[in-house]
Amino acid sequence: MEISGLLFYLVGFLTMGGIYAVLSLALNMQWGFGGLFNAGIAGFYAIGAYSAAIITAAPSDKHLGGFDLPIVVGLMVAGILSGIVGYAIARICVRLKADYLAMASIGIAEIIRLIITNEDWLTNGSLGISRIPRPLEGLATGRTAEVIFLAFVWIIVAVTYFVARRLRASPWGRVMRAIRDNEAAATAIGKDVQRFRTQTFVIGSVFMAMAGALSAHYFKFFSPDATEPLLVTFLVWVMLIAGGSGNNLGAVFGALIIWAIWSLTEILTGQLPPDWATRSSYIRMLLIGLFLQFVLQRYRAGLLPEKAPRLDIELTRTRDLN
């Protein structure tokens, strides 16, 4: 492969990697900070993608809108809608053991999948929404445009990372960790456990929708196929656990590394004859599942294990919190 082709491939890789990094950071807010199990990432991702698509796409009589509005508006609507859904489900489930939220979130993803495949007036059903714009599209074409979009994605990654970092280091983040590690103690000192959990779930849901919106703009076309639970929900879980739950930098690294492994093996298996190519894609799934088990049993803390952020108060000098 010539060098420019390789660079071009790298741009595509980093764009998708960035979208996964946002998802992984968002899951880190829910699972890493709050110990909340979300098995329906694909659902929140789909809400984001379809909101952004409907708001920003050129007008069409095949689905609602498109309203041809600025991309920022699309991102806002995506975040708000996803946040509302996240709030509703969290309110019902956070008072129960995490398993109940896991079951209910599977349900959310399923309902959203039903809606986007069946409500043709809204989403054009399985045919999907096309002509979704990218930001600053008029400025450049071809490969330059790809680079501009890559920058856009990583600006969002940076924003997400910054928010996650601030949240974690704040008093709010300390309460979240306290709840996660010892719920009874956190309740005993008067923290409203359910409120904090609901908050972290909603914030995570909002950023998952951002990732969905980004991918809608990236693909310029979005159909229900893109919300396959394996590629969205499962891969993101592997990314966060391998990278290091609770550690934001770990979430980003995990996303990039797992995405690299996932796409490189796809290239490798793509070289095989067609009959073997389909088979090897199942072997690939089997191996990524096995990889998750391995990490869970041996390297649960992940690549970059969680470290409690430094406290800027007297306490640190008198007592080692770790």
Partner: protein, 295 residues
């Protein structure tokens, strides 16, 4: 009215039987091992395909192949527990939930690798329905599925109430600490939980194939209504799970009946019924109809 029974209630009972048998395992595993088993649907798929191979190789009837399905699923479940769940037993159970999420994917990938992704049937062709009193037209397969489920439910009831193992299982589900203090063998109980849970799931998987056809994704698609059935019945209450699964199945079918001129909901939203019931249970009565454990 006859249509309601022939085309909605009977298929509802059939679907309910499938959900019920799957929900028993989920409820027992949640009650005894304390985690939501996300791979239960795909365990069902493995059972269904094991029976497919047995039917293909020996030409035995699908009903007889249930035995093969049970054995294969039980062995797979015990091996999975040993390899992937047991090492995480000392940790918060949410780690086991994550592990089971991964196991679900591995099961599905294995099924796709071995048997492919096409829809498959056990016995091709059309069966003539049985006609009772000139009005009730009931497919033979529906009689087989509902009948077997009733027999299994009675057997399960007797097992849980009359045998020592069954009583121990209920004791562990009710209060694991007390059961351990009383010197009950937890590991043996866990093994029995897997054998029964996997066996019933495999039976349900074969029923899916008997009723329609089997597909590598079928188990994952059945997971939501099975969870809903287990929650509705009450966690740790196997017979509650049977009732819960039945209610979900019947509700899904009846919701598409045109009670008021138009069908209540579009058939494509049938699987949303399970979710709505699940949410209602979580809001109104999280311990379920039969006062299960609230974890």
């Amino acid at each position: 009215m006859i249509d309601l029974i022939n085309f909605y209630l009977i298929p509802g009972l059939t679907l309910g039987s499938i959900y019920a048998l799957g929900a028993v395992g989920i409820s027992m595993i949640f009650g005894i091992l304390r985690f939501a088993h996300f791979a239960h649907g795909d365990l069902m798929t493995i059972g269904a395909y094991a029976a497919l191979t047995a039917v293909g190789l020996t030409g035995m009837s699908p009903l007889a192949a249930i035995l093969v399905a049970i054995i294969v699923a039980a062995i797979v479940a015990l091996a999975t527990d040993r390899l992937f769940y047991k090492p995480l037993r000392e940790l918060p159970t949410i780690y086991t939930v994550i592990a089971s999420f991964g196991v679900a994917l591995m099961f599905r990938a294995a099924v796709q690798l071995i048997w492919g992704t096409d829809n498959q049937v056990y016995v091709p062709g059309f069966q003539k329905p049985l006609i009772f009193f000139d009005t009730f037209r009931i497919a033979t397969r529906h009689v087989q599925i509902v009948g077997t489920t009733i027999i299994l439910a009675v057997a399960l009831h007797l097992f849980l109430n009359r045998t020592r193992t069954g009583k121990i299982m209920r004791a562990v589900a009710d209060d694991p600490t007390l059961a351990a203090v009383a010197g009950l063998d937890t590991e043996a109980t866990i093994r029995w939980t897997w054998i029964i849970g996997a066996g019933l799931a495999a039976t349900a998987g074969v029923f899916v194939g008997l009723d329609t056809d089997i597909h590598s994704n079928m188990g994952w698609n059945l997971l939501l209504p099975m969870f809903a059935g287990a929650l509705l019945g009450g966690i740790g209450k196997p017979l509650g799970a049977i009732a819960g699964g039945m209610i979900i199945g019947i509700a899904e079918e009846l919701c598409t009946y045109p009670f008021f001129g138009d069908s209540l909901i579009s058939p494509s939203y049938k699987s949303a019924v399970a979710f709505v019931i699940m949410i209602a249970v979580l809001i109104i009565r999280p311990q379920g109809l039969f006062r299960g454990r609230l974890l």
